[in-house]
């Protein structure tokens, strides 16, 4: 395989703006405090667009909370501002908690996280009350429900409220999937069943099939040593992955909606792990050099190194 080095692919690009150039514009508009343009942009998006994506970008902007509070002081019923501020509060809370394992998080850090989550939740309660069809607000309320441990049925209720207006909302589905996993009080049966429900409910080429890959990755990560190998060696696991990929990431009509890099990445990673290098290579080729933090951060301390390792192996053989 001497020709592999001839066209050595570029390093992975984790910048979300590389996949979605409008991110750069949104960040600039937020920095410039151009609320009118941001509003117009979001109002102009097609109805089925995942607005949670743009809200997420805005909520990452440092100091955006002060600006949102100013807007809300003048217009308390501004659903978009309520949602951005709620999402921002969640992120501030998570910064206090840090991403460390729960055992290493202090009582004060947890108290800080929960205080911000409660603030976020109350803003978002108001947002969904004002606009029960707001996908971004409901999706964020799945995160607060998880962090505040409000319960499995409550999370499902929130998802159902969202799905009544947005039946194949990928980021909301991903959050409920996390909630349904045993680490958040659910069960593998519930998590796998939900992923399958999303796959079959969505049209071909939609992102929802990515949930099947994600739940297998979560299940695999929860196992240790030999159990991991045995898990991926199971025929039904491999069959489910292929079926899901062919309905989503490897479907000719695969839609490059918000989240597609994550979905493609999950399939690339899982096909690499199962040794299905031909399909892994197809996923990597579709990605170009685009990458998202997950699943790669779960496959080693350095997400970029994990990405490169699996990509090089796949492209060399597949």
């Amino acid at each position: 395989m001497s020709h592999a080095s001839a066209s050595s692919p570029p390093p992975p690009d984790f910048e979300i703006a590389s996949a979605f150039p409008e991110v750069t514009w949104l960040r600039q508009a937020a920095t410039a405090r151009d609320w009118v343009s941001i509003r117009q942009y979001l109002d102009g998006l097609p109805r089925e667009t995942n607005r949670g994506f743009a809200v997420g970008v805005l909520a990452e902007v440092d100091g955006v909370e002060g600006w949102m509070r100013e807007i809300l002081a003048a217009a308390p019923d501004d659903v978009l501002a309520l949602t951005v501020l709620g999402s921002r509060e969640v992120r501030i809370g998570w910064e206090i908690r840090t991403a460390a394992p729960a055992k290493q998080v202090s009582r004060e850090q947890f108290a800080g996280l929960h205080a911000h989550l409660r603030q976020a939740e109350q803003l978002l309660i108001r947002a969904t009350a004002l606009d029960p069809s707001s996908d971004a607000a409901w999706a964020e309320r799945l995160t607060t429900a998880m962090g505040l441990q409000l319960g499995q049925n409550e999370a499902r209720r929130r998802y159902d409220r969202l799905a009544a207006h947005h039946p194949h909302h990928f980021s909301a589905q991903g959050r409920l999937l996390q909630q349904l996993c045993p680490k958040w009080g659910g069960s593998w049966e519930a998590a796998h069943a939900f992923a399958r429900e999303c796959l079959l409910g969505a049209p071909e080429g939609a992102l929802s099939g990515g949930l099947v890959a994600e739940v297998h990755m979560e299940h695999w990560l929860a196992l240790r040593g030999r159990e991991r190998e045995e898990y991926l060696r199971q025929g039904h696991v491999r069959a489910e992955l292929v079926e899901a990929a062919e309905r989503s990431a490897l479907h000719p009509g695969f839609r490059r909606d918000y989240g597609w890099v994550v979905v493609q990445g999950y399939f690339a990673a899982l096909f690499s792990l199962t040794g299905d290098l031909a399909r892994a290579a197809a996923c990597f080729r579709a990605l170009g050099n685009l990458a998202s933090q997950y699943p790669w951060a779960d496959l080693g301390g350095d997400a970029a190194a994990a990405y490169v390792k699996h990509r090089d192996a796949a492209l060399a053989r597949g």
Partner: protein
């Protein structure tokens, strides 16, 4: 206006009277401005006792009559022929003036039987404390120690001509009706106390579902809001989600210009979280003004049907009598109807906001509502009294502090902080006293302190000082109890009142520890296994030809015994702890 659909004010023997025309049997009611909220916890039940004594001489009359003691009003109600109504009302007045004290002990006994059937629920206790309107949540502890003089004095103070209103529905005022009652003053409405921190509050208790009440200005809009709330709760929790079987609301005027809106949704144990979440979202929708015109119209039409029904005026009479006693105007049906048709969604939005500010929510055990902006209602005190400290002999970290002004119990929480509950003697609503020396002090804020001298090593001298410090009227002497309560490892050890759960004040339940939970599971499983074996043997062993009947009985008895012994520790832990 239809003159038959009106309430006419008049007077009978100096008693203000409300009359409405109606055919059929005569209906009438004598209403007094006195109720449970006028009592104190140490004398709770005295109004109810007077009501019972006043009705005793009616004996087994053929006509229908009844009495009802409410929070601020006591009703004597009758339905029958003219002469029967006259006989009833005059008999009640005569009895109130000269109560049949020879019946005192018997009626006390009857009240204790009725007690066990009462189920008001804990919301008033949490909202108002162990005083005023909060007393409806408590057992009638005072009845037991009341003597004839106490009862006579109570009747003479409250059941007077000046403190009464009569209502009559019939073709005319019954001929020969004469009501002889002693003169007396009209009493103002009970003071409204508060045991809440201000703003929306919650507490966690029970497993049934979500219960909420809120104090709002008593208006037609508030009545309609209550109806719309019920429709929204049914839609969200019953029809859309299928989380609840029942979602219901109630509107009750307090007659002091305010009313209580109560809302309830039941929940399967597995769906409690979704019911709570859906409940919060329904309230939030109304609070931001999402009020459907169609819902308003549906509720309005139903209300209008009540106001235009042939018996509308008659059905309003008892409430109108309460209004008159409370010093509020008696409103005509036409006035109420025009108000009804003027209500807009905007008015309901304003009610929703008012209700949001005064809401008190009961959420199932193990759940909270702080995430939705509700503050936890206090279950402890922010201070302790200075005084002598008696650590628990069990070494569980709790201690009793007996001071000159009051008494505190302190406990060390899991997270290292110290929690406390304090009852000041001057704010002691009741002290239950058992002959074995046990005492339970209930503060007017509803906090409870159990004083078990043996468990804290409190000497007789200190107990005597405690007994002397509590105001005489708050002391309730109780007969010997079957079992002394074990102390709870919590700051406010309330536990169950002797009359049953739900009546105790703000109990801070003993948390079930991990080891106890494990023990419940292990002993439960073992007990269940042996019970199964015992059952198998009992059912099938008898027919086994190799076993004699005597052996069969002995072995079956042995197996059942083992099962019971194994299950007992689990049952004990379950009964003494709660999962928090």
């Amino acid at each position: 206006m239809n003159p038959q659909a009106a309430i006419h004010p008049t007077e009978v023997d100096g008693i203000p009277t409300l009359f409405a025309y109606a055919t059929g049997p005569v209906r009438a009611g004598l209403v007094f401005r006195v109720g449970v909220a006028d009592e104190t916890l140490g004398r709770a039940g005295i109004t109810h006792l007077v009501e019972h004594l006043a009705l005793h001489r009616q004996g087994l009359a053929d006509y229908h009559f009844n009495g009802a003691t409410k929070a601020a009003f006591t009703h004597f109600h009758v339905e029958g022929a003219e002469h029967e109504v006259v006989a009833y009302l005059q008999g009640v007045c005569a009895s109130l003036t000269d109560l049949p004290m020879e019946r005192l002990e018997t009626e006390k006994e009857i009240l204790r039987t009725e007690e066990s059937r009462r189920d008001v629920g804990p919301l008033p206790l949490w909202r108002y404390g162990a005083q005023g309107y909060g007393l409806v949540s408590y057992p009638e502890w005072g009845v037991r120690n009341l003597g004839p003089d106490d009862v006579r004095a109570w009747a003479a103070t409250w059941f007077t001509r000046g403190n009464a209103v009569l209502w009559v529905a019939g073709e005319r005022l019954p001929a020969g009706l004469s009501l002889r009652l002693p003169a007396g003053a009209r009493h103002p409405m009970p003071a409204v106390t508060s045991a809440l921190p201000g703003g929306p509050a919650y507490f966690s208790d029970g497993t049934g579902g979500v219960l909420l009440d809120a104090v709002v200005t008593d208006t037609t809009a508030a009545r309609l809001y209550t109806g719309v709330l019920e429709r929204e709760l049914s839609r969200a929790l019953r029809q859309e989600g299928g989380y609840s079987y029942t979602a219901a609301t109630d509107y009750a005027s307090r007659r002091d210009g305010f009313a209580l809106v109560t809302a309830f949704a039941d929940a399967l144990p597995a769906k409690q979280d979704a019911v709570l979440g859906g409940f919060v979202d329904v309230l939030a929708g109304l609070q931001v003004g999402r009020i459907g015109q169609a819902d308003l119209e549906a509720v309005r039409t139903r209300a209008d049907g009540g106001l235009t029904a042939p018996d509308a005026a008659v059905r309003r009479l008892p409430g109108a009598a309460e209004d008159l006693l409370a010093g509020r105007p008696v409103r005509g049906l036409d006035e109420l109807r025009s108000e009804l048709w003027a209500v807009t969604p905007g008015h309901l939005h304003a009610v929703a906001l008012e209700a949001a500010g005064t809401a008190l929510m009961q959420v199932p055990s193990g759940h909270t509502a702080d995430w939705a902006g509700y503050t936890a209602a206090p279950t402890g005190s922010s201070y302790t009294v200075a005084g002598r400290r008696f650590p628990s002999v069990r070494g569980d970290g709790t201690a009793l502090v007996v001071g000159d002004d009051g008494i505190s119990v302190t406990a060390r929480e899991k997270n290292g902080t110290e929690s406390a509950a304090t009852v000041l003697y001057r704010a002691c609503a009741a002290m239950l006293s058992w002959p074995d020396g046990g005492r339970r002090l209930v503060g007017t804020d509803g906090l409870v302190i159990e004083v078990e001298p043996g468990l804290y090593g409190v000497d007789a001298h200190t107990m005597a000082a405690l007994d002397a410090a509590v105001p005489h009227h708050a002391v309730v002497w109780l007969p010997p109890r079957q079992q002394r309560p074990a102390p709870r490892a919590a700051a406010a050890p309330g536990g169950e009142a002797e009359t049953g759960a739900g009546t105790s004040a703000r109990p801070a339940p003993a948390r079930r520890t991990g080891r106890q939970t494990a023990a419940v599971v292990v002993f439960g499983i073992l007990g269940g296994f042996f019970a199964f074996l015992a059952l198998l043997f009992t059912v099938f062993g008898a027919g086994d030809p190799e076993t004699s009947t005597g052996e069969w009985a002995a072995i079956a008895g042995f197996l059942w015994g083992v099962a019971a012994l194994l299950a007992w520790p689990a049952v004990r832990i379950l009964r003494r702890t709660r999962r928090v």
